[in-house]
């Protein structure tokens, strides 16, 4: 899949640091740490740039073979999709990527580390969303 994506809001929220991005998925109780070249790719990905464009931007920053970069970026995006952290978007990016605005000291593949040790906390907070008829309203006549 080489489409364009956005953050899976409001279930997913994140904070970015220079060498790491922390993501929280409130829907499944998992949290994630993105490392390697992921912090560089992450804002570009959320802007809607495709895998091909991301790989080309990385190629401008390091001396890795193009197919290696494309494979690494594709694997990274596939895992983000699998964890429901990003979802497809209809519109494309507004601005092109400017790789010169970023520094990449040494290339490392983008990685995702998933933490699943807190899923049980969500089980203690069962949520019921009220629908347009007013659930959990009692049935008429009860």
């Amino acid at each position: 899949m080489s489409g364009q994506f956005r953050l899976n809001e409001p279930d997913v929220t994140f904070e970015g640091f220079e060498s790491e991005v922390l993501l929280i998925n409130l829907a499944n109780g998992n949290y994630y740490s993105l490392r390697g070249s992921a912090p560089v790719l992450w804002p570009w990905l959320l802007q809607g740039h495709s895998v091909e464009v991301l790989a080309a931007a990385l190629a401008a920053l390091c001396d890795q073979p193009a197919d290696t970069l494309r494979r690494d970026v594709q694997a990274f995006v596939d895992q983000l999709i699998k964890e429901a952290l990003i979802v497809p978007r209809e519109d494309g990016p507004v601005d092109p990527i400017d790789p010169t605005a970023v520094k990449l000291a040494a290339y490392a593949p983008p990685t995702i580390e998933a933490y699943t040790d807190m899923q049980d906390l969500l089980l203690l907070d069962p949520i019921h969303e009220v629908d347009v008829t007013g659930w959990p309203k009692k049935p008429a006549g009860e």
């Binding site: 409001p10 929220t13 904070e15 409130l26 309203k137």
Partner: protein, 361 residues
Amino acid sequence: MSRPLPSRAPRSGAAAWIEDYYGRLEAACDRAVQRVGACTETRLIAGRTVRFHFIGEDLHAILFPALAHLAVGDAASAADLEVFAWETRLAGEPLPEPPWAWPDDAEPHRVCFPPDVDQFRLMIEPESEAQLLYRTDRRRAYLGVGDARELPTHWYGAPLRRLFHWWGQGENLHLIHAGCIGTEAGGVLLAGRSGSGKSTTSLLGLEAGMRYVGDDSCLLQPGAPAIAHCLYSTGRLHGDHLSRFPRLASRVVEPRPQDGEKPILYAHRHFPAAVATALPLRALVLPRVTGLPDTRTVRISPAEGLLGLAPSTLFQMPSKDADRLRAMARFVRETPCYRLELGTQLEQIAPALGRLIASSS
């Protein structure tokens, strides 16, 4: 666990019935107060006036002790939060019949409303026959309980925790899963998953004469410096603690031993000078048990600090607004973060934290 909403209507059917129910609840509460009276307590939380009306003496005895350490507020001041806590057994005035069906199971349920009635927050605990309804635009809450004697132990040690989370969202105060202890120079936020040594470190600090803001939760006020506000003066001691802290263990209470929950220490009763209503924060500390003799502090990155602080806070009280994560991220960027490698020589721990606070002040 949660069900997806069907297609959204401009105005949902929920608006009419929840507004009607709220009005009936207000009227019933007024009748209950007229019938049996209310015990009113005015306290300050983070400088805000919070007024509690306990209708039924049992609720006062159960809910208020964990909050009694808070500074007394002006009874004539307008309230920033007003809470009516109502025991129907004693008030002789039942809660109005709710328009919702009580869940079939005994687990707590949180009800989320469509956007056009987003000013209401509702929590139902069928096992306790408890219902908490909060209205954000009026900053008023109604807690209805069938029989206060059936409330489980956590209501004694950390009462109305969900309410303080909801209220804090509107006050830029963030309920954080963290302990906090300190000195006159400031405090440290102790964060980490269960079993990391957070509570043990908090209790060690209390025993060593440090200032105590809490062992498990506090309200974080962003700023330079950020401030940790005390909600509860209580601590909870599990099995290991009872043998490790005999002086504290002799002072715990078990309101309901049958619950199997941790005994409660009301710190302000036994260590009144230690309990601090607020401390400026000098550092974030993530305790970690090592099994080695000596304790040491290791500087960590803001990202690692947030990884230790944010998840349990967000998952304990999930909400889809990003403000809490943003507030915690600001805190770790602006405040030094450390890993506290806990040694087995426990007498080293409080002095290590004292030195850390002094060097960070």
